[in-house]
């Protein structure tokens, strides 16, 4: 019987900083055991539990696209209170960590086929959304999806994630990338303003469009209200939630929203599902 608590061993192949404050790093991992790499079939929006033996374990969204076979990427923010994130940030290329996954349901990429996609990402929650963008813009999949609109919001230019990827995405056809920061800053050429007002300005028509939102709770709330005003279908607004997790497989009883577990039945829920669940005040 497969032991769901035993992590696979992976090695750090590349680390680069994602923001000026240097508390956000993207780690590239390669699998030590080749058939682990084969079994690790994931879809956009899924996450994995990264663990350092003797320190602990925590869930992180997979930032790389499923089409990328050789490595798997995570963007991790160092929290002063976070024992594991601090230890991860102290690691260097070549160190080994444990990895458990892929976990969670991820975005319903099959259901979204043939539809337009609106991505709204706030701060460093852009990780799994970048995975979606890379997957959709990959040459083998581009034809399955309609127009891609991506709104990336951040507090200031130094905090904007994956800027080189986004310049790459802009070149793709039928794709529009909008970057916005809260307050004006010099040599910032893109938009300025909070996510919700900018979203109201740039949002595509709700017809046949799925909206994928992920970011700090206040941003999710304001942007969802905007989308509801533009009468987006509540079934097509998808949120990726985040809660404290221990087992990641729906056993340890802590990450539930209503009777659903964020780790096993989530982290992606449609707004319609969330309305149903939180009527039972799940949080």
């Amino acid at each position: 019987m497969k032991n769901p608590y035993l992590p696979m061993s992976v090695t750090i192949s590349k680390i680069n900083f994602e923001n000026k404050a240097k508390d956000l790093k993207t780690f590239d991992f390669t699998f030590d055991n080749p058939d682990d790499a084969k079994d690790f079939q994931f879809i956009c929006g899924q996450f994995a539990m990264i663990s350092i033996d003797g320190i602990g374990e925590a869930p992180f969204g997979i930032a790389s696209s499923p089409m990328e076979k050789k490595i798997i990427q995570f963007t991790i923010k160092r929290y002063p209170q976070g024992l594991l994130t601090t230890s991860l940030h102290n690691l260097s290329v070549g160190d080994k960590v444990g990895l458990r996954g892929p976990l969670g349901n991820g975005y319903p990429m099959k259901k979204i086929q043939g539809q337009n996609i609106l991505i709204v990402g706030g701060g460093f929650a852009l990780t799994t959304l970048r995975s979606v963008a890379q997957y959709v813009l990959h040459k083998d999949n581009r034809s399955n999806y309609g127009r891609l609109t991506m709104l990336a919001a951040a507090r200031e230019p130094g905090e904007m994630l994956y800027r080189d990827d986004m310049t790459e995405f802009e070149k793709a056809l039928n794709t529009e990338i909008i970057q916005t920061i809260d307050r004006p800053a010099e040599d910032w050429t893109h938009k300025v303003g909070f996510a919700a007002p900018v979203l109201k300005e740039v949002a595509p028509s709700p017809k046949d469009t799925y909206a994928l939102i992920c970011g700090p709770p206040i941003m999710i709330k304001t942007c969802t209200d905007v989308l509801l005003e533009l009468d987006f279908d509540t079934d097509k607004i998808l949120n990726s939630l985040e809660m404290k997790m221990a087992c990641g497989i729906g056993k340890c009883g802590r990450c539930n929203v209503g009777n659903k577990y964020v780790c096993k039945d989530g982290p992606v829920f449609s707004y319609k599902e969330l309305l149903e669940l939180t009527k039972g005040c799940g949080l």
Binding site: G54, G56, K251, N259, K264
Partner: protein
């Protein structure tokens, strides 16, 4: 292959001595006034005259702290093996604890992920449960669809009919063990009838009831009701109700390290503790006692019902019997059932 067997009360110690030879026998033992299931080498120092054990059977299959794996530079990650592989017998268990094991199977033997640690111990154990002739005033198992005579979850079901015990094999495992037992004889009809009357008598002795018919829907309506402030006001937020509850299964995973080797350990955790959902960013979705009390009741009587179509409660009464402020679950459920739900804002 007889399903029913009798044994005289005076021979029970001899029977247990034999069982202890080739099985690991766990039986109720009293120490400073507290009865708990402990491993015994013979039948001498056990007591079958008790209401219920202090700690539930879950401690056997889902121990309070269990090493998931050890790691070291040389061997990498190794899962510890149980040295003594002999099968275990739990003798004298109460029917509510046996039923609790079936409820826990929903979680640890799930369709999606199976928990190898739990299942290995679960299969390796034979449960011989003893019907309750004397339920406690705080028992309310009859309102959860079970009772002093409920056989669900037991491999052998025992009824104490005065000077003799009636053994009944409920499962294949139980039948195999029953055939191995010596010193048993055939029961007459009057013994079987007497066992039945004793059980119905015992069922009528249970006075406390909770109404669970439409409890799940009622709880959905009371999501944001202020009733939870009132229910949680006196609670001091300790872990007794969840640690001594036979169906509570929440746990935390922690790493224990000393220089370059150590192990990853799974410990019981409680939704009533403050840092159960505290995130590294400092945000806590359940910051006060109110949300935690709501989560505890919701998980047992609403979410578990929606996920597994059963209440995660067996009516054993341990939670309020041991609670320092006697937070009576019977009264809590009563208040919830009678609470009027205001219209959704």
């Amino acid at each position: 292959m007889k399903k029913l067997k009798m044994i005289n009360k005076k021979d029970i110690t001899k029977l247990l001595d034999e069982l202890a030879k080739n099985y690991r026998l766990l039986a109720p033992v009293e120490k400073d006034g507290i009865v708990n299931f402990t491993e015994v080498q013979n039948g001498q120092d056990i007591t079958l005259d008790f209401y219920n054990s202090k700690e539930p059977l879950k401690k056997l299959f889902f121990p309070q702290s269990e090493t998931l794996y050890c790691y070291s530079k040389e061997q990498g990650r190794t899962v510890p093996e149980e040295q003594d592989k002999r099968r275990k017998i739990v003798f004298g268990l109460r029917p509510c604890d046996a039923k609790a094991a079936v409820l826990l199977d929903n979680v640890f033997d799930g369709a999606d992920f199976k928990d190898p640690y739990y299942l290995e111990k679960r299969e390796n154990t034979i449960i011989c449960s003893l019907a309750c002739n004397e339920p406690q005033t705080s028992c309310f198992c009859t309102s959860l669809g079970l009772g002093p005579g409920d056989k669900d979850g037991s491999d052998i079901f025992i009824v104490d009919i005065g000077d003799k015990y009636l053994f009944e094999a409920v499962t294949q495992k139980g039948q195999k063990l029953l055939d191995e037992m010596t010193g048993t004889y055939e029961p007459e009809d009057k013994d079987i009838k007497k066992a039945q009357t004793l059980i119905t008598e015992s069922e009528n002795k249970i006075k406390k009831q909770i109404e669970t018919a439409c409890l799940s829907e009622k709880l959905d309506e009371l999501a944001d009701s202020p009733i939870w402030d009132e229910l949680a006001e006196k609670c001091i937020g300790c872990g007794i109700c969840t640690y001594l509850c036979p169906t509570c299964h929440c746990f935390a995973i922690v790493d224990e390290a000393s220089d370059c080797k150590g192990c990853r350990v799974r410990n019981w955790d409680s939704c009533m503790f403050g840092n159960f959902t505290l995130e590294a960013s400092g945000h806590n979705p359940r910051p006060t006692g109110k949300e935690r009390m709501r989560q505890r009741i919701m998980h047992k009587f609403n979410y578990f019902v929606k996920n597994f179509d059963a209440n995660a409660c067996v009516g054993c009464g341990r939670c309020f019997r041991n609670c320092p402020v006697h937070n009576d679950l019977i009264k809590v459920i009563e208040k919830i059932n009678n609470a009027k739900s205001e219209p959704k804002k």
